[in-house]
């Protein structure tokens, strides 16, 4: 059965071959929709099926996937998002990210659920896609522009109502943590999806659609959407969210000793009050957000150079406490530069922290002091253009530490090559496990468990924490990333997750219980894991899931939890429990029985040729 018989999904994927300058439309089956839902689920299945094993992520054979989900663009809260995915040039494994953009809605209104971009153009190109008609346009005049300038120019040509995804100089220059950006501050694809786009000579994608998205029961969906919105608007804490959004997390993490400070040496920062939500409010000018959202969480401030900069917790923590900079307006400048140049703020802040520590320890010749705003600003620009020390930074902390060698590996703060998001884990063992087992490398999107740890016991290494982590990964990394809806209404304002199967049913006519959804989530997780194992082959092992040694070796020296660090043996016992519950072996490789149970038999032959598979 083709999926067009189901509602909710458009049932079509647009395939664009940049090398040949051709585009074709592919219909997909309802089985594919039901087994993988959309977004991340579609992306990993396509990448598994179509990428040659061991492909160079920067070669024309790698593919860039833009994937929406069955809720994207509908009258449901916070669904103006899409997933961008590819084999990552930063990690060598599966990489993805989601970003909120009008492009997500235009994609669905063009009649597609996903776009697969393959090949590479021989000259700078941008795509203009309108209702399935694809133009391959010359991007000579756009090459070299920032993401802000690119979007502005393209909207002048194609109209302000189109959706634009673009890369900046960082993507063009193949910085390994270049992102794809939209709407001056919405970025996605931390593991170098912007570099993949740059390697294909693709500067931007402009989308416009005028079709309606097929919906099973429109009246019901509208009603559910409006009830859920009302429930968000009257949620406890909504007013405060509108004031500070995720920026309230600076104070929260400072109190709980999890604010990344001086390259994750500490969990508290002496100048936290200079960069927290209240400091941000003192210079805030407006709010921005993704389409279809009543929570608009982008806080726009006037920065030190009197320009607008859109802040949230992650970018502020990584570009303030983690590099020792205690001035919100200066942090605003660094953040804006990253957005303009198309750099991931988390990896950039992490890389700056690494370089500052290497400089302090005289492991590099350059002098880069903690909190030096001018040096940080220059290095961000140099990274995007790969100049001098910036060329070194552009490779990310894993490669930098491999080059410097020695003890720097202990404080290269990454897992699988992806730099760690903004939460220190000296006192959060389950969060360290979340980073270790995140399917793209050390990122917080799939599971953030520190509230649970604080509430139930910081220093426990319990089975209960492992269960909670898997539950969060199923909901956040499985359900939200494949329906493609923003998790914030649930995690930040307490909107019940029970709404989402109801939305899915009204949109598609398909009834799914949480057991069904978790089965899909586990299928997606295990297929992503199989992809990593396939790409690493004999080099894959348990070490790939281990967080940085710093958290095990060097205790905190400041704050109420000074003296604390992670316990190696107990943490490893949690990892064992995690593997067991996932049906993976001692090395985190899925067992054959697990692959069969999840309908992933097709991976067995491939994996057996590369690693030893347990029954």
């Amino acid at each position: 059965m083709l999926v067009s018989l189901l509602k909710g999904w458009n049932g079509k994927i647009l395939r664009v071959d940049l090398g040949r300058g051709k585009a074709v439309i592919q219909e997909y089956s309802s089985d594919f929709a039901l087994q993988f839902l959309g977004g991340r689920g579609f992306a990993i299945k396509i990448l598994w099926d179509e990428l040659p094993i061991g492909v160079n992520p920067l070669s024309p054979l790698n593919k860039l996937i833009l994937a929406a989900g069955p809720l994207t663009g509908l009258t449901v809260v916070s669904t103006g998002k899409l997933v961008v995915a590819s084999k990552s040039p930063l990690t060598g494994g599966y990489g993805d990210g989601n970003l909120g953009s009008n492009a997500a809605i235009q994609l669905r209104k063009s009649g597609f659920d996903a776009i697969v971009i393959e090949g590479a153009s021989d000259k700078p190109t941008y795509l203009y896609i309108e209702n399935g008609k694809v133009e391959f346009n010359d991007a000579k005049d756009l090459w070299g522009l920032t993401t802000f300038e690119t979007e502005e120019k393209l909207k002048k040509v194609h109209g302000g109502d189109c959706g634009v995804l673009s890369i900046g100089p960082a993507g063009e220059n193949i910085v390994k943590f270049a992102t794809i950006t939209s709407q001056e501050g919405r970025s996605g694809g931390r593991p170098g999806m912007g570099a993949v786009m740059g390697s294909k000579n693709l500067k931007a994608i402009v989308l416009r659609g005028t079709q309606s998205i097929p919906v099973h029961d429109e009246e019901k969906l509208n009603l559910l959407g409006s009830e859920a919105s009302k429930s968000i608007l009257k949620a406890e804490g909504y007013d405060f969210w509108i004031r500070q959004g995720t920026m309230a997390t600076i104070e929260w993490c400072q109190v709980n000793s999890t604010l990344p400070t001086y390259n994750f040496r500490e969990g508290v920062f002496d100048y936290a009050k200079e960069v927290d939500g209240y400091a941000m409010e003192s210079v805030k000018k407006l709010r921005r957000g993704c389409p279809n959202c009543v929570m608009t969480c982008g806080n726009v401030i006037e920065d030190y150079e009197k320009k607008f900069s859109e802040l949230d917790y992650e970018n502020v923590a990584m570009l303030s406490s983690n590099i020792g900079l205690g001035d919100i307006r200066k942090v605003g400048v660094l953040n804006r530069l990253c957005d303009e140049l198309g750099l991931d703020t988390i990896s950039m802040g992490n890389s700056l922290g690494f370089v500052m520590e290497a400089s302090e320890k005289k492991l590099i010749g350059e002098k880069v002091e903690w909190g030096d705003f001018d040096a940080a600003k220059s290095l961000i620009i140099d990274t995007a253009y790969r100049r001098g020390l910036g060329d070194f930074i552009a490779e990310g902390v894993k490669r930098m530490s491999e080059k410097i060698g020695g003890e720097s590996m202990d404080w290269a703060m990454h897992v699988k090559g992806l730099e760690i998001s903004a939460y220190d884990c000296h006192t959060a063992p389950a969060m360290a496990l979340a980073y270790g087992t995140s399917p793209i490398g050390a990122h917080h999107k799939d599971a953030w468990i520190i509230s649970w740890e604080v509430r139930t016991g910081r220093f426990d290494y319990s089975e209960g924490k492992v269960d909670k982590l898997i539950e969060l990964q199923r909901i956040r990394g499985g359900m939200f990333e494949s329906l493609v809806a923003c998790r914030f209404p649930w995690i930040e304002l307490g909107l019940s997750v029970d709404w989402y199967p109801k939305f899915l049913e009204a949109a598609t006519g398909v009834t799914m219980t949480f057991d069904d959804i978790f089965m899909v989530a586990d299928r997606i997780y295990t297929l992503i894991r199989a992809f990593w194992v396939r790409e690493y082959g004999a080099n894959w092992g348990r070490h790939m899931d281990i967080p940085p040694a710093r958290w095990f070796k060097e205790p905190l020296t400041k704050g109420p939890l000074a003296g604390q660090k992670l316990k190696w043996d107990e943490w490893n016992r949690m990892l064992d429990m995690y593997y067991d519950k996932r049906g993976w072996d001692y090395n985190g490789v899925p067992r054959k029985s697990t692959l069969r149970k999840l309908g992933l038999e097709f991976t067995i032959n491939v994996l057996e040729g590369l690693v030893k598979l347990s029954e």
């Binding site: 995720t246 309230a248 509230s451």
Partner: protein
């Protein structure tokens, strides 16, 4: 004096970020803090930096920290 530290939206129920309250005898957290039932399941309570509940007993010199359950972005 019991010290109460409140974060985020919970400051509105406490009247500030940090306040002190004199207790004549040990009391339950719920008898000191007036947080409406609909907000209670979105609150993390620590008593002297250890996990607590609305039924934890506190005395003078104790510190209660109340913070929203957040999702960490």
């Amino acid at each position: 004096m019991v010290k109460i530290i409140a974060l985020g939206f919970l400051t509105k129920y406490v009247g500030g970020s940090v306040i002190e309250v004199k207790l004549d005898s040990p009391k339950r957290v719920r008898d000191i803090l007036d947080i409406p039932p609909e907000a209670q399941n979105r609150v993390i309570i620590l008593v002297n930096n250890s996990p607590g509940t609305f039924d934890s007993i506190v005395d003078d010199d104790d510190t209660i920290t109340i913070m929203p359950v957040i999702g960490g972005g």
